[in-house]
Symmetry: C2
């Protein structure tokens, strides 16, 4: 890429028998992040010409400045940091960038960030443990709604390939500016499920993760296209995603073996698609999301008109939100609205905000409930 | 992440019924890259505090400066650019970064870059076309060699899931600083194969893409660990990767249905593993790589001692390199060495250098030869 990278590549891709450069001194490669045993973390970043480098991280309340050494390597050590997997990036003279030497990327449409994993005393639920592993498959299906080929990620549990049985299926939708990869990379859905299945705390299931952004390009958020987004997603879900999954994977078509859940916008999409289609979904999870009473009244007349019938169909309507979430107030109002309508649901209010740490937490909670 | 991103998320993840902010003006989101019909390309990048922003791209001979407008958005329009998929990044005050708003990332251990696709008059071989699509599966296996869980990507051709037949298998290894994802994301192996299979130009096959970097951490390139890297990769290949693939996928175990190929370091690894193990591989591809005569003489005594037997076993030994590749001279010497040893092989010398455009080109050429 740039000359420095190419020089680096040229040097280190020389095969083993070429030894002419063996003695030439070579600066040590930068490592970042470095997680210390006491859970402090050092971040290193080379930028000799930068005026100001800050660390932006979801375990920090405010950005923290890095300090540069004479070689132009900026560093900061923070913490101890509580065990979790956190998004972070460097803000270099005002521009947020991913950590160049960290392979763990946070997939997003609009910005680039990285992930740092702080282990606890016990292996975390999202960590890679010595248990049988499922797979994540990247599939490509033709969307009639958007008339183009779209990506879809599908988790299959350990043993899926050699087996013959059918599995329940969770449709799991990510949030605004997330991509179809975010539940995999930042949500770690595969490792969480591998671990929960090994511990017999979750039912082996298939998880289909669509790309929830149904807007071609990026229309303004309150434009008519955006206002139609929930309905457009429903169309995609029922005309594109479900048929693809059911044609290509051994999934049950029983409504009691189908769940839909999502984070942020994906939570709204899941509520919208799920409550409107109780003939198709018996399990619904809303992670850091809500619907307004207006939307509920307008689109869910049948669900609201006969709460008894609705409650009978709903095996689980689960809502989770953090107290510091900027959507907390609306989520609490939605919760109250459901209570007023006598629609049974389960609520979890946690610490924290509109973060992927909470998204993962809610996912892990509900994976232990679905299909039981 | 940083405050601006969070503000953006907050705004655009409000559900459709919240319209209070509908009238508040909102700056248009930056689009980058923008490919024009005449194949010029505009790159846009917001960095109000940057002193200097350059475009580094594999279609440019030297970095080109972007110019800033009064809002701090830097732009450049280049080209027309020849049809291909190119890596590029922005060099911001000396630091190379991926395009923040481009989802197409170039996977790499040590730097972050993006990809821009310039279409031609005809759909390119790596483009998403209206043909049946295979899948890319992310698998996780336990490496005895490195005593940890490692990733492996596996392409399965269209129709694989519903079928029962066994397929030939190509082990495809990427280069230094590449990751297990680079052949997927930058190599587009899945779309190339989907298209070649649809055109009946390639045999439906499975492609297994390991993470070729066998060095724990990043030892200096000429250290003993690095020198042992080829042999360590062989161990991983035969004790970890092949057994995993053969246990989990319907692949033939016939040597004539097994190929190994790679780019750069992965090409060296493929030559090393392949020629040493002609009982396991009948097809070997070296893309922009070589072995030194010293290595060949030391490790391939049997292959060199009886070229007639070697030629009989080798269905294909294929070498491709670009005239501008910094390894061209060594690759040409290797070619001559093979000629001197009477070991039959096919050579392709192209324009261009040590690039992923050439890697993809060589892949596409050889996919039409393997297993025929």
């Amino acid at each position: 890429m740039n000359t420095k990278c190419l020089a680096g590549i040229a040097l280190i891709c020389l095969p083993l028998a070429v030894t002419a450069q063996a003695q030439s001194p070579r600066p040590p490669q930068i490592q970042s992040p470095v997680v210390h045993p006491d859970r402090r973390v050092t971040f290193n970043f080379k930028a000799p010409n930068a005026k100001k480098v800050e660390l932006s991280a979801q375990f920090l309340k405010t950005n923290q400045p890095l300090a540069a050494d004479t070689s132009g390597v900026w560093s900061i050590t923070v913490g101890p940091v509580g065990p979790n997997l956190y998004p972070y990036n460097f803000v270099v003279d005002g521009v947020g960038i991913a950590d160049p030497v960290n392979q763990e990327l946070f997939p997003n449409e609009r910005f680039k960030a990285s992930l740092v994993d702080i282990p606890g005393d016990q292996p975390s639920l999202h960590s890679v443990q010595d248990v049988p592993h499922g797979e994540i498959s990247y599939c490509f299906y033709v969307s009639k709604t958007l008339t183009r080929t779209r990506p879809l990620l599908v988790y299959t549990p350990p043993g899926y390939r050699e087996g013959k049985k059918k599995y329940p299926v969770l449709y799991l939708v990510s949030g605004t500016t997330d991509t179809e990869e975010t539940w995999f990379r930042a949500g770690r859905v595969n490792f969480i499920l591998d671990n929960l299945i090994a511990q017999k705390k979750a039912v082996p299931m298939i998880v289909a993760m669509p790309y929830g952004n149904m807007m071609m390009g990026t229309p303004p958020p309150m434009s008519p296209q955006a206002a139609e987004m929930y309905q457009v997603f429903n169309e995609e879900l029922f005309d594109g995603i479900l048929p693809y999954v059911e044609a290509n994977y051994r999934v049950s078509r029983d409504r009691e073996k189908r769940a839909i859940a999502g984070f942020s916008r994906g939570g709204g999409q899941s509520l919208f698609a799920g409550v409107q289609n109780l003939d198709k979904f018996a399990w619904i999870g809303s992670y850091s999301a809500y619907l307004t009473p207006e939307v509920f009244d307008k689109y869910f007349t049948s669900a609201a008109a006969d709460p008894k019938a609705t409650n009978k169909k709903l095996k689980l309507l689960w809502l989770g939100v953090g107290k510091a979430d900027f959507l907390y107030q609306q989520a609490a109002e939605f919760d109250n609205y459901l209570k007023g309508k006598n629609i049974e649901h389960h609520s979890l209010v946690t610490e924290g905000g509109h973060t992927w740490m909470n998204a993962r937490h809610y996912l892990a909670e509900t994976l232990q409930l679905y299909f039981k």
